[in-house]
Point group: C2
Chain length 146, copies 2
DNA sequence: TTTCATTTGAGAATCATTTGCAACAAAGAC
DNA sequence: GTCTTTGTTGCAAATGATTCTCAAATGAAA
């Protein structure tokens, strides 16, 4: 059993829940994708195994609570996620025009954030830094690509 | 005409749009609320003036583009906003348990962010820093308030 | 006041996400 | 193994925020 499966199982057991075949399949799919994904994307990857879209939707909150995935930039009215293990935290720069997503390292900001958390006695589960605007390509004219 | 009305009118004219009574009313409502608000909240404030919810929804993107409001933490499936003028940028700390929202100054982070923007040649329109987790009240037990 | 483009209210349409429910599967006790 | 209990799932229907359609209203300019 791989790293993140162990972590998921541990989390589920703590809640009196079970690591079923479907949930393992969804977890595996989430870690097979190395970009941002939405519910539908995972569903496409595993629907051949008779996993329903409803189950994907029911499992995503579990993966979030377990700290295995994180919510990222919302595009086109759909919630998007990315897996965490082996993925250092990063900021997202979203171009409003072409919807390009650029990722940058977060290490320069973390010390200040953690300091603030200590002051607030806040228990951080997820840090989301999203900066929207225009990428260098779209900066000039008012294109309409994508 | 107040500061933000001037700015809105200028923005609208640049797009060949008009500063109508309804749009002015919505803008005014947005600046009368000193917390986060959603479309429905603004609607409640002005429906007595026969402004429709559809018009509120149509105006919010204009206020965003005009740089008068910004999108904040999404709660309960609803987009939420806050006005900008006279509101220094700040980070949002959202408690997953009681949905409390704490705001903290952003000035410690801005230099690093602006530096990165310069490197990326990215034109920043909006910075959104949302940290979720448990506030000090909810940290201990697994309450279920709110 | 005539003209023409923009705006608006009302209600229908969208569409991601959630839910109810009856059939199923996991896991522990025997 | 078999029984029992409790959590899980597929399916289809429900939900609900946001968007859209369209005909009537309004604004600005001439
Ligand atoms: Mn990412
Ligand atoms: Mn705020
Ligand atoms: Zn772009
Ligand atoms: Zn709390």
């Amino acid at each position: 059993m791989i790293d993140h499966e162990v972590q998921f199982k541990k989390f589920l057991q703590k809640q009196g829940l079970k690591l079923t075949r479907n949930r393992a399949r969804i977890l595996e799919a989430a870690f097979s994708v190395h970009e941002h994904f939405d519910a539908e994307k995972l569903y496409d990857l595993i629907k051949a195994d008779n996993v329903s879209l409803a189950t994907v939707y029911r499992t995503l909150p579990l993966l979030l609570e377990a700290g295995l995935i994180t919510r990222t930039v919302r595009i086109g009215g759909r919630d998007r996620f990315e897996h965490i293990l082996g993925h250092p935290r990063h900021a997202h720069w979203l171009c409003e025009n072409c919807h390009a997503v650029i990722e940058t390292d977060l290490s320069a900001l973390l010390p200040a954030i953690n300091k603030e958390a200590r002051a607030l006695k806040f228990d951080i589960q997820n840090i989301s830094i999203n900066i929207s605007g225009l990428c260098w390509k779209c900066k000039g004219g008012a294109n309409d690509s994508q």
